[in-house]
């Protein structure tokens, strides 16, 4: 959780870009440079996330990182526990769970290889917690070696072990990690559905709105108990539309998926857009009111908050 001592060239570069005011990227860099050195603390942090009385529970650790409990099986999504992502973007709030407090996991899923979803240092922290990490096609070539097994899942392909089934589902985003590699990593992004003991959970990772893809997911998984859907970043909209849903589109996706509940993710953890912290959940609440959706259907968690969605 300490700032990397090797970040000087990055900060220097960031300063040059920020001072030069290079449009959107300059604004984002300037705002990142203004982030307090210490992230906001999580109050009443959970140290044992296991809920023996729960059939289905979700703990939002921050950004796209969530711990999903399905009976006795735990799945972790897009683990990011580091102080910064991409060397220059600091956390606004500390992780909602310490990696040491994670229970033994059945699987970890990575939606794509961007720095805020595939964190090498975070995988180091949980290397002994999981037997396998699942990735989209082509992503293993951007993954260092670890003790756990790593496996790519193509669209609609499943991994099964001990009654848990994880299926990769199509989403609308972009692959690559360092810029130009998005030109050849054209399939290295995905969402997932986890199934266990009759429960099913949708994890959207990072996606734009694509009606056909959400409809296809519903056709394959007609009874989703909860959908974890990204609601941010949204601004500037012309730039973000191709790769990210806004809050209205997230609710449209929720409706198309036909899930029983939605948990919004991917907001208020890092600064990667023109959105101000708090903008996305506020807009989401506004649109929930317009659609008569209450907080039992759309469950907005705080970082570090765990919610039991189905009791035994």
């Amino acid at each position: 959780m300490t700032r990397s001592p090797f970040a000087f060239p990055v900060v220097a570069f960031s300063l040059v870009v920020a001072v030069s005011g290079c449009g959107f990227f300059g604004r984002v860099l300037q705002r990142n440079l203004a982030v307090p050195r210490e992230p906001r603390k999580v109050q009443n942090k959970i140290h044992d996330p296991r809920r023996p009385g729960a059939r289905l529970a979700v703990l939002w650790i921050g950004h796209a990182t969530a711990l999903v409990q399905m009976d006795d099986a735990f799945v972790l999504t897009d683990p990011v526990f580091t102080r910064t992502v991409g060397a220059f973007s600091p956390r606004l709030v500390e992780p909602g769970l310490d990696p040491a407090d994670l229970p033994p996991l059945r699987a970890v899923v990575i939606s794509h290889t961007h720095f805020d979803h595939l964190s090498y240092d975070s995988l180091d922290m949980i290397e002994q917690k999981t037997p396998i990490v699942l990735l989209p096609p082509g992503a293993r070539s951007s993954l260092p070696r670890y003790a756990f097994e790593s496996r790519e899942l193509d669209r609609w392909e499943s991994y099964e072990a001990g009654g848990l089934r994880v299926t990769a589902i199509p989403v609308q985003h972009v692959g690559g990690r360092w810029g130009i590699d998005q030109a050849w990593h054209t399939r290295a992004f995905t969402g997932y559905v986890f199934e266990y003991h009759g429960l099913s959970v949708y994890f959207g990772g990072d996606t734009a709105f694509d009606k056909d893809k959400f409809a296809a997911a519903r056709d394959h998984f007609p009874k989703l108990d909860v959908a974890l859907l990204p609601i941010c970043p949204t601004e500037p909209r012309d730039f973000m539309r191709r790769t990210h849903m806004d809050t209205i589109e997230a609710l449209d996706a929720f409706a198309l998926l036909g899930a029983s509940r939605m948990i919004p993710i991917h907001f208020d953890t890092f600064i990667n857009s023109d959105d101000r912290p708090g903008d996305c959940p506020r807009l989401l609440r506004d649109h929930m009111r317009e659609r008569n959706l209450d907080d039992t259907r759309v469950v907005i968690l705080e970082v570090g908050e765990e919610r039991v969605l189905m009791a035994r």
Binding site: S4, F6, F8, P9, V10, F13, A87, Y120, D121, D124, R140, S141, S142, L143, P144, R145, Y146, S150, R155, P170, V171, Q172, H173, V174, G175, G176, R177, W178, G179, I180, D181, Q182, A183, W184, T186, R187, F189, A208, D210, K213, R242, T243
Partner: protein, 190 residues
């Protein structure tokens, strides 16, 4: 001349291969703004970007620039695709790798001469030191050079930050008169 022609053919093949992969998958939801043509252009420009040199010898200080082409990398730090040719993801280098490279260099700007081209071919071993090498990596290498002052062997050490995009390398060529020690601010992207 044959070597240069084969290098061009191999680079073109690698870029065309990447472009074909991308075209085959373009209807699969990628919202990427970087087309294969843009990627090829950026990669080419990145290879043309020179690394500035500080050239030092006994009673001699000068400058210069260096380029590098990487026809082969074997990475022992990645989970898949250990062999990369020409187009080398940062992780393939800094997570631990052995690379073969070729470097044209131009030393200049010293008041007492020493200006001229150096052709260098060598190998380099990368070792990750922090963050799987994303934060800090080091290298140890050796090369064979040809210059107007003769040819010979050189040793090199390096350290790299920021996904191996920025680094410092020091090349020692004891028999290369007036250019015995060449320090480079290495700038490299793919």
């Amino acid at each position: 001349m044959h070597g240069a022609r084969w290098s061009r053919i191999l680079v073109a093949s690698a870029l065309l291969g990447a472009a074909n992969d991308a075209r085959a998958d373009q209807d699969d939801g990628s919202a990427g703004r970087v087309t294969p043509a843009i990627a090829a252009g950026v990669w080419t420009l990145a290879q043309l970007l020179p690394s500035p040199l500080l050239v030092t010898g006994s009673h001699h200080v000068g400058g210069g620039v260096r380029w590098q082409i990487t026809p082969f990398v074997y990475s022992f730090g990645v989970a898949a695709r250990p062999v990369r040719m020409f187009i080398v993801d940062p992780i393939a280098r800094h997570s631990g790798a052995l690379e073969l490279y070729g470097s044209p260099e131009w030393a200049c700007c010293a008041p007492d001469g020493g200006t001229g081209w150096i052709a260098r071919a060598g190998g380099r071993l990368y070792v990750p030191l922090a963050g799987h090498g994303e934060s800090l990596a080091a290298s140890l290498g050796g090369s064979y050079y040809r210059a107007s002052g003769g040819d010979g062997a050189a040793l090199e050490v390096g350290a790299y930050l920021f996904f191996s995009i920025v680094g410092i390398t020091v090349t020692v060529s004891p028999k290369l008169e007036r250019r015995e020690v060449i320090s480079a601010l290495t700038l490299r992207y793919f």
